[in-house]
Amino acid sequence: MSFDEPSLARLMTASQRGDRAAYRTLLVGCRRWLERYFARRIAPHHIDDLVQETLVSMHRKLATWDSGRAFLPWLAAIARYRWIDMLRRQRDEAELGDNDAAVGAGDEAVHARLSIDHLLALLPPKQAQAITLVKIEGASIAEASQISGQSESLVKVNIHRGLKKLAELIESE
């Protein structure tokens, strides 16, 4: 089945009326769309978590879709909100970098980087470098400090400030 805008909108209308089969199909379509959406924005090892969080948020906020409007911008708004929320959580993490697995140089990783690169370019270079090393490439704080020539505390500060700015940039998009 193709999951284009009219199909998704029809499925959503049926879902709001309580049609579980339509809703299941809609969720499958949304999952595929979200996987593509997040693949261009975050590191691959975060995609599944964000897809799940977005599907749950979507489920909780089903009533906020207006059938007179397009479906995908509504889904994208919820996805973006969850993405910003994840960036904020990362910013607030006490143990920066400790839970991030290293990302290989495969296609997925390259695509994830391609899209976020234009946002990173809007940050001061040292903040962008710290985020790239720790949050995208999976380096530890100590490794990032060694590579970038920044002190470990400065790496943490730059990640904190950079993620905050990044969230604001995405929000204002």
Partner: protein
Amino acid sequence: MKDASIDNLIDDLAGDLTPVRPRRVARGSLWVAAGWVGGAAALIWIFGMREDLAVRGMPPLSMLAFWLTAATGLAATWSALRMGLPGVGRDYGGWRWAVGASLSLPLAALAACIADGHAAMEAARHGFGLRCLVQGLASGLGVGAALFFWLRASAPTSPTRAGWVIGIAAGAAGATIVALHCASDDVVHIALWHGSAVLFSAVAGRLILPRFLRW
């Protein structure tokens, strides 16, 4: 493993589905209107209406200030209501234009101060200024509460901005309600004391509400 967990999640969510009633901005507007009318009725019932209002209406300057403030409140209300129904690419910024236009009031007050500082200070002191501020803040609570509960049950994607806008809407509503009671027609008094209700309310909305609007 993750694939299986998303499949399970989809099954669970589908099994959990119940019919929902789509949220409509029109319904939210009714609650806000009720809050506005309720606030006005309460203030007028307790403190009374300005005496000339029923006889010959407001003087032109007060009338202008009233409608500027009302436009700000309506624009902020409309933006807040729309923020509850998210969508990438939707514009929620109409309230900024109304706020920009209403800044003509403090600018006019500033010009009056520059022209005659002593008279302006006297005018600012006259007319129970602090009381107008408190009444304005209290009168806007109905509108603020209506918008808060609307957005809390909806999906605002920028809780910080939503907090600002709720505060501006509530403050502007309160300022229009106070204008029905306060007999002062001086631009300095209106800009300083009635305008402060909008400012304080906006700051309070920004500081207090975002944490309760996250979802």
